[in-house]
Amino acid sequence: MTKKNKRNSEARAWLCRALVTAVTVLASVASMMAMPAAHEADDSIRVERPVASFFMAEVGSASVIDTYLAPVAFKGVDVRLEYERMQAMRFDPQRWVMQMHAGVEYGNLQNKPGNHTEHMLMVDYRWGMMRRWSNVLTPNLQVAVGGSTQLRGGAVYKPSNSNNLVSAKIHWAVSLTAMASYRWRVAKMPVVISYQATLPVAGVFFSPEYGETYYEIYLGNHSGLAHFGWWGSRFDMTNALMADMHMGSTVLRVGYRNTIERSWVNNLDTQIVTHMAVIGVGGEWISLGGNKPNGEKARIISAMY
């Protein structure tokens, strides 16, 4: 076996091990979801699971290289609106939390000489669950690990092109996600700093072939368009660092979000990187409706801290 073949073989083996690990973690998450509520709270105390909601506006920079459109980088301003929702899970609220994200994003990008523009419009949705551990190392640190599924789609549009006017994007994936939150007080104001990383490990995504026009796809040639997404064909990651400042019942959020999307199939490379400043407002809400008896003791289990 040549050195090159050996290296390739080792790389494949490493990637296989990584995938097996990812699938194992996800399977564990799924099996724990299916377990009966062994840790249900004491029957005599009602459990309230407030919904933590945040509306965020983000602005920052984006860099796009999509060789279906052009081999050069386009950079510019990126804006995003995002809604995030978290809630402790009913079956084991102390340990398991649900998280949902939905966002829409627009990037206005220019080439280096500044004479051509690309427009990027993307929408995405992510839903996941995390197992959390509180009081890790210190009473103020919480760590959570879990899995999520996400769908992201949209297009990069380059008006100056001809038959390769648009590069359509759609990607479904299952991901690993991990989050660490640390809480303390600043001048009596509770502040929670959190970092969350989300790493898709497997999925399916769309890519036209190297010189294929959308006209040919329109005519019905759909071969070679759907691809298995794994670390041998694409790499995506989202990093979010947030500071939540509790001001009464309202939480002011400021932070930073970084997203990375790279794919390399059909001899086409795509690289989209964003760096965003985040500002948002939110809070935790408890439903008071329904037939909840007055005066009953309730235990509130927050999804966040």
Partner: protein, 334 residues
């Protein structure tokens, strides 16, 4: 967690840099490479692109200005003899337009004045009218202008009673292939094999997909169709999507093509960009006709006719007059 954070930082820092420099050589090399990896007719046209690149790169020097560089690049692209290949800068568009080398063979004013008497209907960039010899005439000058099925119904309703129809696509430089289908659909009664498309699958000169056969469906039976003899008029300016339209129409038994060879352009163009912002357009995906032939250099007419200057002075369109003769003959034989 720490590993994920490190992975994120590493991934951010590993993003590929743009592979070209911004100087004269960087831009030239970028152009050469884009064409080398994406152009679809090297073998068909027997072009040695490596040799071409070496020849023109030798003309560069580091103190060269942008206009000089543009001219060298433009000359290099002309070696491809491709009407779909252009280099676009802020001050010029390089081109290889075959029709500039041949007689125009079309005079719009002559038709409007002497055959239509300025009395024609027009919709969606189509002029149409019933002529005094009871042949229908329609001029479609731009396949970028979409025609709706309702518009075609209106046109065909007016022309339905004619003994024959002339479709004039001279100097129609092309447009959208999706506008070809509804027009062809008016002249067929069953699904028509129109040809095949093959695209590049990688940077190698011979990396192509398996040809994908495509078909055109006849227009719905509720729509107005035309089944009598048809003559399509062409010149060298009948290019790109128009060339495709002519090659498909020519395959129909009730259709004859009269005029000059079409301008060709059977490659679907892609665009790309150089580091300095110039845009380059090139043929990236080839369409073959229903007999598997590439019509990059044009479709031969059934009757090759050029405009006669004396006819034009006398208010006659030589090509249209020949079309009437052909229609007379086809009607008589029917």
């Amino acid at each position: 967690m720490a590993m994920l954070a490190v992975l994120g930082m590493v991934s951010n820092s590993c993003m590929d840099e743009e592979p070209y420099s911004y100087d004269v050589y960087g831009n030239f090399d970028a152009l050469w490479k884009i064409i080398d990896e994406h152009y679809c007719f090297f073998e068909y046209k027997n072009v040695d692109w490596t040799k071409v690149g070496q020849e023109y790169r030798a003309k560069l020097h580091s103190g060269m200005g942008s206009t000089e560089l543009f001219d060298v690049c433009a000359d290099m692209l002309k070696e491809l003899e491709d009407g779909h290949t252009n280099l676009v800068s802020g001050w010029d568009v390089s081109r290889y337009w075959i029709w500039e080398q041949y007689p125009v063979n079309y005079d719009e004013r002559l038709i409007d004045q002497w055959y239509l008497a300025f009395n024609y209907k027009t919709t969606c960039n189509v002029k149409y009218q019933v002529l005094s010899n009871n042949y229908g005439y329609m001029y479609y000058g731009d396949f970028s202008a979409g025609i709706g099925e309702g518009n075609l119904d209106a046109i065909m309703s007016v022309l339905a009673s004619c003994d024959g129809l002339v479709i004039d696509v001279r100097s129609n430089g092309g447009g959208l292939l999706t506008n070809v289908e509804p027009l062809v659909g008016r002249f067929i009664t069953e699904r028509l094999y129109a040809g095949s498309i093959s695209h590049k699958t990688g940077p190698g000169h011979n990396e192509f997909s398996k040809p994908y056969d495509y078909y055109i469906e006849p227009t719905s039976s509720k729509r107005v169709k035309y089944s009598k003899p048809v003559v399509v008029l062409t010149n060298r300016g009948s290019f790109s999507a128009t060339n495709n339209f002519v090659s498909i129409m020519k395959s129909l038994p009730q259709v004859r093509v009269v005029g000059d060879v079409t301008g060709g352009g059977c490659g679907l163009p892609f665009s790309s960009e150089l580091p300095n912002g110039w845009t380059v357009r090139y043929s990236a995906s080839a369409i073959a006709d229903s007999e598997g032939r590439l019509t990059e250099f044009g479709v031969e007419p059934d009757f090759k006719v050029d405009m006669d200057q004396n006819d034009m002075i006398n208010g006659k369109d030589t090509i249209l007059e020949k079309a009437f003769e052909v229609l007379d003959d086809m009607v008589a034989k029917k």
